[in-house]
Symmetry: D2
Subunit: 343 residues, 4 copies
């Protein structure tokens, strides 16, 4: 039973089938092929807007290329104090932007709000040109703590952003799971709510290695492709990446996969909640459960081959992540274990 991370999951069998199918011919390189064009169109349709797309093979790349196009080297990026771009990308945003600074905003359960942004921004500008220029806000949807911004939250933040000449980037590593929780359209929590650019994650939700940068705001006139190329993120055989998107979108595979993962996380939460010594730490909006579990219980779970991660630096806080390929048997077995575990 592996609940360590959805980035350890396998990929949709339909994707591999499709790779086999498209593998009969040579095709134009660097994204000028028909498969890539089809994927682009499907994304435009999914988001109900004419958008610009770039495919890269990691979320870190997607986030950093996006941010480098909306924040100058002397700029600052406001983000949650739990943001992946801050603590888990080894300085990639700093590298790609040429030295911009991340400005961590205190968050509630991983989410930032307008009030905290205002407080932070009030501290900027006082040193004039001696400090960096706040230039962008990055929101993670769903957040690193498994919580979700609703459209209204986002709109308030983006209104604030527009007022202060800040662009809005969204890190959508678990975007599907957020859509699923909100029962909303992708457009509702992106461009319709003021998001300028999105890192759309698919790798954690059924693909092999495909993250798409979607540019909604036509004012961003950056030469994205050159940024992609010089970062080594332009695939020659791009069709093997964009093909993944086609099967990901087709038949609403993406949202069904996310729904399954979300549901199983609720089951995990329920199983854990049966034990009165275990505390569920954050709302379980998506496919992640954060729980405080006494070490003794943790040890018992490990003996039963339940794997999960301790949360960074914490004594007893743990994270359980479900995935599209989690099975009902695993969920059932986990529940059995929880029922029988002694405190």
């Amino acid at each position: 039973m592996n609940f360590q991370s959805d980035n350890q999951s396998s990929i949709f069998p339909e994707i591999i089938k499709y790779l086999e199918e498209i593998n009969l011919n040579s095709a134009p390189a660097y994204g000028t092929d028909k498969i890539t064009m089809q994927a682009n169109e499907m994304l435009s349709e999914l988001f109900k807007i004419d958008l610009k797309v770039m495919y890269v093979s990691s979320g870190t790349a997607a986030n950093s290329i996006a941010l480098s196009a909306i924040c100058p080297p002397y700029g600052g990026i406001l983000c949650s104090d739990t943001a992946h771009i801050g603590g888990d990308e080894c300085g990639a945003p700093e590298f790609f932007t040429g030295g911009a600074k991340l400005i961590p905003i205190p968050s509630n359960n991983g989410l930032i709000n307008e009030e905290n942004l205002v407080n932070m921004l009030n501290n900027y500008g006082l040193h004039g040109i001696h400090e960096i220029l706040p230039s962008a806000i990055s929101l993670t949807q769903a957040s690193e703590l498994g919580t979700v911004y609703n459209p209204d939250n986002i709109r308030k933040i983006s209104n604030f952003a527009k007022k202060h000449n800040l662009y809005i980037h969204m890190d959508g590593a678990r975007f599907s799971n957020a859509c699923c929780f909100l029962k909303c359209e992708p457009a509702d929590i992106t461009w319709k709510s003021g998001v300028d650019i999105l890192s759309l994650g698919t790798t954690k939700n059924g693909t092999m290695s495909c993250e798409a940068i979607l540019i909604f705001n036509k004012d961003i006139k950056e030469d994205f492709e050159r940024r992609q190329k010089r970062a080594g993120h332009l695939w020659s055989k791009n069709r093997y990446m964009s093909a993944q998107i086609i099967k990901w979108i087709e038949n609403e595979r993406w949202i069904k996969a996310a729904q399954k993962a979300n549901n199983y996380a609720l089951s995990i939460k329920n199983s854990l909640s049966k034990n009165k010594n275990i505390i569920i730490e954050y709302p379980v909006d998506i496919n992640m459960v954060f729980a405080r579990i006494p070490i003794a219980i943790q040890d018992k779970l490990k003996i039963k081959n339940v794997s999960f991660n301790p949360w960074y630096g914490s004594n007893n806080l743990t994270r359980f992540v479900t995935s599209w390929d989690t099975t009902s048997t695993e969920i059932k077995n986990f529940d059995d274990i929880m029922i029988n575990v002694e405190n």
Copy 2:
């Protein structure tokens, strides 16, 4: 008949089969899985040395990460005036190194030699700290013009390099084809000849998206993984990349594929040579033929659906590239066309 580039080719069916095979389970992320370890071992075996490996999804990434680890931001990288790192990577080496400068060396048929290196290096150091510090040499094997360094060439250059405290990087985008031409072991033209670090290309020769950085020189103590991570080149589901290497090496698939491509290039060369108005521009060591073809003939070929690329900025210089998936029928048909084409 598509002779535009080997980077448009399809991938070994065995790789897709294998992806299907390994797709049954979740597995540890970021290259800590068993498949990756097996691929690492197979590479060590293939190169007959204990080496450090990193997988990335493009040659540009491989070259740039490698170079950034052996050249400081105020350094210089000597390379052929035809080098891919110079003209086709949109400044990636400059980006990854933090501003180092490429120093183009006049080449003969794409190859640089000790004499030209000496001449160039004699121009450095005269301005002292006002100029960048030559720090590395990058050799492309096989070269961008389809020619190959023999082990003796490389050894002379690496002796020169050691004398001047320069590291040797090899861009091996078509490394297989070079091995094939030289009928040598991978080790012979790398660490045994003084190469410190290699970008081993496999994408042009049967894989989807896999380039391996191989570090031979243990003195390079750089924190490569962090450079990989901060560039967004660390795959979470790394096993789907390293799996490609396993099938690439297995059954000498790599060398057989290269042999086939090389042979077909010779056939192309022969077919072209039948026309007295066509000049073969460079030695055809590998899977690329550079030919000067009068525009009128080019047009006739295009009408017959033969596709190939004009070489950059030239009037009548063209490049034909064969690949592992070029077929004998295509080669036969091309020969027929050439026999019948009027001048």
Copy 3:
């Protein structure tokens, strides 16, 4: 009465006299002249160690060049949450290092201690290569809040640093004032206490534009001069910069100037303390007084032409800075004003 900042002060008349004196001839450029060599020797003597020196024209340049030589692009620099490098250099450390991250440590009155460093460092390493590599500690002596590390504080921190392979940088923008307060030799709070590299500030204490980077640790084999040159910080007529150092050191001018400024800050503190509605916020170790002053009183002071700065973002916190050119008349007048100001 200008107590806004010591960086607004004038310069030692002896420096201008000396500039006139050395202005009779041409001299070798870029620091190869005799005046620069003499300045180098005087610094070695002052610090009682054979050291390497580089002159630059701002503290930001000194700090950033120093940090870029001891912290890789994927590294982290631990520093106080009040550090000038963090909030007042517009991302210069990020720029010069090529993207390293500053890690702010909670401070007490501007000073960090071993305990807080341990706490912060414990949070690093948990994400492995997904997070930056802590590589250096930067201490500001005296701190931005006017407080001073004693040699024992520094030694504890540097012992900790050595244990964790971190270099120690000291931002000595007000180094003279710290020496003065501690009544110690420059060596005592630098290399003898484990500091590897120092930004020695002189501009705030009597020179025009001269900050010296002093490298104590011979293990730092970086090509500093090239970093200096490529940042545009190598003066051709370097003698006009190094000449300032000669007069700064001569006759203990530097320490006398600092002593005067420190003394006057204590006078200011005493004058302010006479008013029971004013709170002195931090210990007054050097030439800066931080005081909470009701706005009504602030207004009265301004009417009397007393200028001082509000501290960033605060309601009533103010900073008074004295300088080597503050006069006894100003101090006397300020005291008179404070005696007469009504609450």
Copy 4:
């Protein structure tokens, strides 16, 4: 007799007098003082246009900050193959721009022309996004070989530039000498001829350390001050730098100084020309003479204490530079030596 470089010269005594004069008071920091404002105005007047000014202490800094504002990280800067930014700034343009590439254009006597630009630009764009985007042209006026662009030359190049969306930067390290040669107004060879941004050098012509970046083109909306600050090039006591400009402009001191240097270079040229074994290599437009001098004669000159520089990497090519502080006695003595030197 020192003819090595004008960057070894002394400074106008009037500047030192003025530094003494303004040294009586404290003044606002970072260029908000009255002296700086006056210097700004004098520059606007001199160039007969409302312009934006930034003062930095080296030509390398001026060039690099200017270039970083008009060329993106993935851009290219076309410049002469003799350009100082290419060979003598240790990669500063690459550093400041975040990795842009210099594209050396073959020059005639150090000057580039439209034809060569067209030829080079024709080679760009063929690789599409795989190559950097030409974004700027940098002209050195006067050139590194002592030759001068006339307004018509510049206008042709800038017309070409506008057509291709390239900005024009001018490296004016010896701008005064060029104005002097052309007997033109500063405006004539800058904004009136299509130059967008100028590095105005004064250090080689009588100041201590002052190079001004002048921005003519209002479309360049870059946040220059933050680029200046993060590079450590914002002086706190800026008045001591801008004061130099005031005295440099006052009484046409700048043009008189340049005239004197130019005249003396012609004298040097004449003296050298008396010897039939000596060849004057380039036109002597300004204060530099390039001459091929047999080694035997060079040795005789050295014995007579004539110092000059061999030109980089050449056997017998030498450079003689005169300066505002070259004396008529030196010129006379040099002529005597040349008359008497045996071949």
